[in-house]
Symmetry: C2
Amino acid sequence: MARTTGSDGEKTEAAVREAAVNLIARFGYEAMSMRQLAAEVGVQAAALYRYFPTKEELLFTLMREHMEGLTDAWETACPISADPVQRLSAYVENHIAFHIERRHATHVSNMELRSLSPERLTQILRMRTAYEKELRAILRDGAEAGVFSIDDTGLTAMALIQMMTGVIVWFRPGERLSITEVTATYLSMTMRLVGAGTDGETTHDGARALGRARDAAAL
Amino acid sequence: MARTTGSDGEKTEAAVREAAVNLIARFGYEAMSMRQLAAEVGVQAAALYRYFPTKEELLFTLMREHMEGLTDAWETACPISADPVQRLSAYVENHIAFHIERRHATHVSNMELRSLSPERLTQILRMRTAYEKELRAILRDGAEAGVFSIDDTGLTAMALIQMMTGVIVWFRPGERLSITEVTATYLSMTMRLVGAGTDGETTHDGARALGRARDAAAL
DNA sequence: GCTATAATAAAACGAACGTTCAATTAATTC
DNA sequence: GAATTAATTGAACGTTCGTTTTATTATAGC
């Protein structure tokens, strides 16, 4: 009726986070009750409040750490090269890999923004904007260097991000296509979309990007 | 304390629908209470049950009619022509126009699927799949005719739909870009994405699609 | 082995939820 | 103008919600 044998704060908190991501992704933040979450962890609802002061704080923590993870992943994957094509390839590969790997967390971060208080919403949106700004910079550099052919940098960045993030809606591991194949196809589509390779070999550019993606994924 | 002067069932039901779409889009289905909805309409909560037997039935009705509207819009916009480029252009123009015009309803239909019962979810998803199938058919025809260069028809269709639907996330009427300009840019991106116009004038294809979109929007 | 503390259970809080029901009044029909 | 129907109110139902409080037990340090 109180502390249970083998109970461990760190393990419980980790279990709460994981269960929360899964439940919120499946049922939504509002639909998930603290009692339901506690039951999934194998604990009473009151125990959750040892780790997270409120339900919203729990949601915010999940979102903030997801965004930090995305930013960190890009910082380590970001190539030193100044070649816009290589940078764009790295961005696409990192984005798709990260979002497929963390499908549930991405779902939460994208769908539950309206459940945050205004200040917390602003904080998450700032992180997201910073991440998207990286893509816009790549597109702008490529357009200025003449290797991309882009009508509107902002619009193209939004279109690309929504296209890539959309992968988590339909992608299921172990089905028709592997992550490698999906990434390769999306890289090919991305390069065509930004008009990369207008130097006469447009038709073969998709194949080149595809080969590059396969190389990268094989590492 | 009972029927109010000037009360009219049809008007009240229409007001309920409109208020529900706006509230669900803003706060989410679970977060919107029937009392909140009633207050927005200027009525007591019990009055809502004259028009919708349950909260979920209300959500389902909104979603079903939205999907029917989308299908109907495409049926009237669908050109008789067999030219894949023209058909794809029409699809993109219709999709973007419809989704911008009904931003809130689209938001509801995309975000609140998990709040439907299994049978109703299946019903909505069937309508959605049928609509997406139209795009896949266009892409397949274009690929077979050699006017499109596509790696994977299914993947490309999903990428395009997510790219286009994403417009409602950031588009706000009266800001930097008009609907016409946005549509033109998306048409251009779409055509490049599917590899339309590989006959040596790739670079100018975007401009052609853009002109076509401006013509269409000017009607 | 005692003490301090970390981790949890159990019960309860008031508030809000979706929904129902009976009563009441406006509009319509004859 | 009486009877009928349409539209709505106000109060209440039982349930569930997020959260708090208090008590209880396991673990760790000395």
